[in-house]
């Protein structure tokens, strides 16, 4: 866990290329209608991109495990917010279609 850990240019470049590819995929996915899962796919790709930025550009991958815990807790609470809000929205749609 060196504080002065340096990441090679090659890794930075690879991550950059992956991010660009994911951006293209984001645009592509937006052209397809997945119904109620539209937001899910958009968020999934965005989360992967944010994760790459955090791990490599912000060095989280090479840092203390405590920072993982802090980051993980933030992700957990975002998931929590989405889960229950989606639970309402999805079951509301089902409920209204049944009634």
């Amino acid at each position: 866990m060196s504080k002065n850990h340096s990441i090679s240019f090659k890794i930075y470049l690879t991550v950059l290329v992956i991010l660009l590819i994911l951006t293209v995929i984001t645009v592509g996915v937006a052209q397809v209608d997945f119904g109620m899962f539209n937001a899910f796919f958009a968020m999934l790709i965005a989360t992967v991109k944010a994760g790459l930025v955090l791990m490599y550009f912000m060095h989280l991958k090479y840092d203390e495990k405590l920072y993982w815990l802090i980051f993980g807790s933030a992700v957990f609470f975002v998931v929590l917010l989405y889960f229950f809000s989606e639970l309402d929205i999805v079951t509301r749609v089902i409920q209204n279609s049944v009634l």
């Binding site: 809000s85 079951t91 409920q95």
Partner: protein, 521 residues
């Protein structure tokens, strides 16, 4: 004269630019009590209007505004910063044997955030006011032509105050404990601040984003909460309550911490089941994030979500009951001393129990549908907020008053003010349970005549509460300057803050303390 934090430096600037946690605590004290006065005047005006059927001292549009400001001021400027920022700032570093908090400059910045945010919010009073209620529900908050944006931006800025305080406390507790002060030797007040800080850091940003979205909706008409554009007005309530329900625990957890200190100190007992109380605090903080939908049972939220939230809400009762039972067990066979702080602790137990049990009633979905938006709910949350948090603030203030100012307050006046506040509170709010069960809706400036007698009782109760606070105010101001000198530990309490002089020196302890036993031994 002995040097202490009060006379260490002189002049207004030495206070406005201070980085001493104790002085910042006192800055918060002045701020919080000033806003309490403002919010209290609004409450008295509301109750006065409701004294009689029909329009009396204000029209309904003005009533809606006063009601909104009463809620916003009391929630965002009094109860949320009340215990953590005022009492927590003063006491936390002393209780863990630290010189200060981890980030003293950020600590001062958080006070300025509160002042600026509150200023922006209250500035809206001169821009036509706002009438949405403190919850800013869409779609009305998007449509109304009142001053929603300044109020919301003010609350946004105040949120930073809360986040910075929480962050500071977490780092302070992790990094600055004195030698021997292990996590399970920390006083329960510190544990409650730790649990609170987790909520402050994790939940407050969601409120900030929600309020920014509301501003975006008003200015740019982006449509996220607008059903005409494919948005969802109920989504606002999800986002809002994701913060605002845990915020209830930002308000109540520190009060529970204060009560633990008071009950231990005034019963001369170790806290019964220390670890159970610690885990109950963390448990309440954890569960608080899973229950927000109980505010939305009749909002149009799906029935399935309602059932899930109803079940989850009842879980809060478990750790809360653990605490209540442990406090009562601590009192058992204790050598009780009925000084003013202890009276507030007993007041808390009595009132919070009623608030908590009616909370479980409201968690039951069919019952909530029946009494939703009635005075039953108003009575319930005032029993929690006032019966819980205000009792905690006042009890804690009387308890640590000798430590803060090195002087003793007048015990008789303290007890008289408590009696007025306690009786006045019950006279004000207990009738509201009955009014709510009888169907009187909340938030209206008027009501039908059968509700008049109990409304009059409630209004008289508000005058009793005000009288109690007036007595407390003058007695405490007098005691600050003219009260008898206090010893370092007038209560014979065990925690670390009482081992230094009253008032403490600039850096809290002349010699770094070393702890070798549990908090209450």
């Amino acid at each position: 004269m002995e040097k202490n934090y009060l006379n260490w430096k002189k002049g207004l600037l030495s206070w406005l630019l201070t980085r001493d946690h104790k002085r910042i605590g006192l800055l918060y004290m002045i701020t919080v009590f000033s806003f309490f006065f403002v919010g209290g005047v609004f409450a008295l005006l509301l109750r006065l209007e409701l004294f009689k059927v029909g329009e009396t001292i204000m029209n309904s549009a003005f009533y809606n505004q006063i009601m909104t400001y009463h809620g916003a001021v009391m929630i965002f400027m009094v109860i949320i910063p009340g215990i953590p920022a005022f009492l927590g700032n003063f006491v936390l570093p002393l209780q863990i044997g630290a010189k200060d908090v981890a980030f003293p400059k950020i600590n001062l910045l958080s006070w300025y955030c509160l002042i600026v945010g509150a200023g922006v919010t209250l500035l809206s009073l001169f821009l036509g006011g706002v009438d949405t209620g403190w919850t800013f529900y869409t779609p009305y908050s998007i449509e109304t032509n009142t001053a929603v944006i300044p109020v919301v931006l003010g609350v946004f800025i105040m949120g930073f105050s809360s986040i910075l305080t929480g962050l500071n406390f977490i780092v302070t507790i992790h990094r600055l404990r004195c030698p021997g002060m292990t996590f399970f030797r920390m006083p329960l007040f510190v544990w409650s601040l730790y649990s609170t800080a987790i909520i402050q850091v994790l939940a407050t940003p969601v409120l900030a984003i929600t309020l920014l979205l509301l501003v975006g909706e008003r200015i740019l008409d982006i449509g996220i909460f607008n059903s005409e554009k494919g948005g969802d007005p109920i989504l606002f309530q999800h986002f809002f309550w994701f913060y605002s329900h845990p915020a209830v625990y930002i308000m109540i957890l520190p009060a529970m911490g204060v009560i633990s200190e008071l009950i231990s100190a005034f019963s001369r007992q170790k806290i019964f089941g220390y670890k159970a109380v610690v885990f109950a605090s963390l448990g309440i903080a954890g569960v608080s994030f899973f229950v927000w939908g109980h505010h939305m049972f009749v909002s149009g939220q799906s029935e399935w979500a309602g059932i899930v939230f109803s079940f989850l809400t009842m879980l809060v009762g478990v750790p809360t009951a653990v605490k209540i039972f442990n406090w009562v067990a601590t009192l058992f066979k204790g050598s009780l001393k009925f000084d003013t702080p202890f009276l507030y602790a007993l007041g808390f137990l009595f009132l919070f129990l009623i608030g908590g049990v009616t909370g479980i009633m409201l968690a039951v979905l069919p019952f909530d549908v029946h009494v939703h938006d009635t005075y039953f709910v108003v009575a319930h949350f005032h029993y929690v907020m006032v019966g819980g948090t205000i009792m905690g603030i006042m009890g804690g203030f009387y308890y640590w008053f000798p430590k803060m100012f090195g002087r003793l307050y007048n015990e008789l006046l303290g007890q008289v003010s408590f009696v007025f506040i306690f009786i006045g509170f019950n006279v004000t709010f207990f009738p509201q349970f009955i009014l709510g069960m009888s169907g009187m809706p909340r938030r209206y400036a008027d009501y039908i005549s059968p509700y008049e007698p109990l409304n009059q009782v409630s209004t008289v109760g508000s005058w009793l509460i005000a009288s109690g606070f007036v007595v407390a105010f003058f007695a405490l101001i007098w005691a600050m300057f003219k009260g008898k000198k206090s010893s370092a530990n007038p209560w014979g309490a065990k925690t670390l803050e009482w081992q230094t002089s009253s008032p403490p020196p600039h850096e809290n302890f002349l010699k770094r303390p070393v702890v070798s036993k549990d908090a209450y031994e």
